[in-house]
Point group: C2
Chain length 290, copies 2
Amino acid sequence: LAISEPQRETATIACAQLAPVFGDVGRNRALAAGAIESAARSGADVVVLPELCTTGYAFMDRSQASELGESAEGPTLAGWRALAVEHQVVIVGGFCELDHERRPRNSAAVVDPRGVQCVYRKTHLWDREQLIFVAGSEPPPVVQTTVCKLGLAICYDAFFPEVMRELALAEAEVIAVPMNSPVVDPPTSPLAMEVVLALAAAHANSVFVAQADRAGTESGIEWAQASAICDPRGHLLAGPVLGEELLQASCDLGAARDKSLGLRNDIFADRRPELYANSRRRSTSKETVT
Amino acid sequence: LAISEPQRETATIACAQLAPVFGDVGRNRALAAGAIESAARSGADVVVLPELCTTGYAFMDRSQASELGESAEGPTLAGWRALAVEHQVVIVGGFCELDHERRPRNSAAVVDPRGVQCVYRKTHLWDREQLIFVAGSEPPPVVQTTVCKLGLAICYDAFFPEVMRELALAEAEVIAVPMNSPVVDPPTSPLAMEVVLALAAAHANSVFVAQADRAGTESGIEWAQASAICDPRGHLLAGPVLGEELLQASCDLGAARDKSLGLRNDIFADRRPELYANSRRRSTSKETVT
């Protein structure tokens, strides 16, 4: 499909909550491929995989990430390219990328039947990721895929309301969020915080949010298992679930292009950026922002 | 208390979910006063009242709002000043303000024992409010009260992640949200959207959010009854409840001054404003933002 093809009205989105085994890249690639095939067989047009889904998460240090990582021309993205063609799906998934200087990046790729459309390097690094990865310098992207305009954020990126707003303003219809979210606090009743944030971002931006989190445990890390598909009204279409599961939902993409709310409001037109001056500045909680 | 008093470490916040009767301003003032007194007796330091709590919400037109409204020097704020002194509390509540040109504003006041600290005029008007009120031109404020640094947003204002971020960056410890939120969609299971947005804003900004919504019905309008007190981790401390109720919670204000998350992150320092360029611009959903 060319970019000039007419807009699709609906798309079936799948999120694969997976439990890869740390360091067993061959097994994990097969696990991801199985999830993609299984989602495609049940009619998915877009499959979202977790963050770092081929290596696992808990690298000891940067050199271990360098050993297990691979370039964007490596076998993981080659495999996703082949699967995207074979099943005519869009694949979004996280992998440990080695950049041209072989520095590890916490990256995610958007692959469609035309090939790799985008490799994004996580810009907001969580906890020990700061010791392992070099942060990206390009903002979370919106990619015109064969199915939809797809925004991309990786896990902690999505905790920043600015990130989700930017993606929606750049016309994302679906924001895919590959995720590996460790349980920090006791889970929030009745919904995990990661799901609350996804629902709020979906509603505040009138956009679909499709996040694929981890199942299982890894080096003592418990995962929030916060996979979810949220519609532009902030309703849960699928998830959360426990264990390895495939979430799937049919999404009316037109609903994400419509920013109206009620009879007289439009969540984009109603913004008043001239009143939002502080947030343009970099700040730390130590500084006084006046 | 002078502004130079030492910071308080805890404060008891109350939110009054009330059912005023449209147009019966005398009765509604007494209802609000009763809620303030009752909250103060149970130890509240700050009492948040709903939006437009002395007039009710469903004005037919601007001239009806002009008839029922009053200036910031009128009896409603005079009453709150007296109650703030008598009970040594901070009062935050919505009222229909007539400005110096007698144009109606959907305003909220922050009143503490020193007097009226701030009158804010709602900047994001919902639905028919656009036909009734003149929108404010000053941003939602942060006020140093005798108890805490208090941010203020009125109902639909709080649907904009930018508003909550601005208030937190300006060092609000507690964001008070007087609210009259009509049910638009069927309520979201398991939490009303207004509560999801409050929890997300509290977590994303590490701040307390105290919103006071309406109970009852008015001119066929059903209210979301989404009163809630959320802590800086995005946990519900109180609410939501059905009917006329007083929510109350003891709040560790230091938790709202601490923007750290986990061992190595800080939600303010981790922001990357250089990557958030689109949202600085005014846009409508009709425009292409590139």
